[in-house]
């Protein structure tokens, strides 16, 4: 069903009721009252809305009615702990002033001033022009909502620039510090000393010529590291194979080399 017919159908019911609740065509759930202020962009908008409602049923209208409606509306929003913009209250005061002036007999002096009623009408009329213009504008096709541009452009990359604050003295001292650092990244070649098994055999034989038994660890040179252990071990095996030495190892003890020649 279209919105307009709906309003017309519901209208008598709305009119039959006093304006103690939020107007039905707004349909604001009680727990979503914050939406209320967004529904109206300001007091002028609210007032126009009330007038527009009355517009449909012109015979029932009068100034005090619209003022009462407006103030009831404000009271309602206030009762529902809705934080009201001060402008709403200013408008309520303006309406109350107009209403009270109408009740009082007119003074000649007053007529020379600008009639607050006609001033308000002017403002409302002016506001209505822009309001309807803005409604039209809101419906106009808008980029990224109703239409899109076709592009193969590179996406914009946002680079955050951070401010750097430094004095020239700091800069100089940092540079000097960097210059005095040892160059940890300089590449260098590690040369392994060539260790030959033959040479090691000779060394072991030399040792064994002076003493009969020697532990394996004594034949090592610590500085030669793992490589030295391997070479010495190979030399020991070589000597054992050729029958120069006997390799002795008791359980967890370390290996001993015993000369066979001297025996």
């Amino acid at each position: 069903m279209q919105n307009t017919t709906q309003t017309q159908l519901e209208f008598p019911m709305v009119m039959g009721q006093p304006y103690e609740t939020l107007p039905e065509d707004l349909f604001i759930p009680p727990n979503a009252l914050e939406l209320c202020l967004e529904t109206f962009s300001g007091p002028m908008d609210l007032l126009l809305y009330l007038i527009k409602k009355e517009n449909i049923n012109i015979l029932e209208l009068d100034v005090s009615n619209i003022t009462d409606q407006y103030i009831e509306y404000i009271d309602l929003m206030d009762a529902l702990q809705f934080e009201l913009a001060a402008e709403y209250l200013v408008m309520a005061a303006t309406l109350a002033e107009i209403k009270s002036r109408m009740m009082l007999p007119r003074d000649k002096h007053d007529e020379e001033e600008e009639d607050p009623k006609s001033a308000l009408i002017k403002r409302l009329q002016e506001y209505q022009r822009y309001k309807s213009a803005s409604e039209k504008m809101a419906l106009m096709p808008r980029v990224d909502r109703d239409f899109y541009t076709a592009t193969a452009a590179l996406p914009e990359i946002k680079i955050e620039k951070k401010e750097i604050s430094i004095t020239k003295e700091e800069l100089a001292s940092i540079f000097n510090e960097i210059k005095s650092r040892p160059d940890l990244k300089l590449s260098h070649q590690i040369d392994f000393e060539e260790l030959s098994t033959q040479e090691r055999i000779q060394i072991i034989l030399d040792i064994l010529s002076r003493r009969n038994v020697i532990s394996f660890s004594k034949t090592l040179r610590k500085s030669e590291g793992r490589h030295g252990v391997v070479v010495t071990f190979l030399a020991s095996l070589e000597l054992a194979k050729d029958g120069h030495v006997e390799l002795i190892q008791n359980k967890t003890e370390e290996m001993f080399l015993k000369s066979l020649r001297g025996a």
Binding site: G42, E54, V63, D146
Partner: protein
């Protein structure tokens, strides 16, 4: 038209990511060794328009120049695709931008006078951030308030060539509505 020039114009429009003016296109073609007249580029664009007839693309002229865009009939699926990226514009903000566009240049006070409600700094800032408005001067009045006007980007975003293409501002209602107004109040 030379197919190479037509295709280069197409490539430029596609790759630019923003509207291009005819003179801008001519300059870009020239740096590529293609010497043309402005009228030739217009012809290229007409030729491209025909080429795009049976496609989802179209060339539109907006305030900042010519740009390639997706025909509105094919925009619905993209709306679903980019759903979260399009911020809603509140009624209040829409009123503010329409007052600026019809009455420019205006101060914040001018807007407030019409709307009957204070215009938040936030809403002015959000329009400035969108590049829809800019400060075009300062009013010679106490406090020297900033004067705001709409930008070309604003027109681009609404698919307009100039501010005069906006729908006419409704006249003050002198019809029956006015009688109601005066009767009501």
């Amino acid at each position: 038209m030379d197919i190479k020039i037509v295709n280069t114009v197409e490539a430029l429009l596609f790759g630019a990511g923003r509207p291009l003016r005819l003179s801008e296109i001519r300059g870009l073609l020239e740096s590529d060794g293609l010497v043309t007249e402005l009228s030739d580029i217009k012809k290229c664009i007409n030729e491209l328009e025909q080429r795009f007839n049976s496609s989802s693309l179209e060339i539109t002229e907006v305030a900042s120049g010519f740009r390639l865009q997706i025909k509105q009939t094919y925009s619905a699926p993209i709306t679903h695709l980019w759903n979260e990226r399009t911020p809603r514009i509140s009624k209040a903000l829409m009123e503010t931008i329409s007052i600026i566009s019809y009455k420019q240049p205006v101060t914040r006070g001018d807007i407030e006078d019409i709307r009957g409600v204070s215009v938040s700094t936030q809403s002015i800032r959000s329009l400035l951030e969108r590049n829809w408005i800019k400060v075009t001067g300062f009013k010679d009045a106490p406090g020297r308030p900033a004067l705001y006007s709409t930008t070309k980007e604003f027109l681009d975003d609404l698919n307009l060539k100039s501010i005069s293409e906006l729908p006419e501002l409704p006249e003050v209602d002198e019809g029956p509505n006015d009688q109601v107004l005066s009767e009501v109040i």
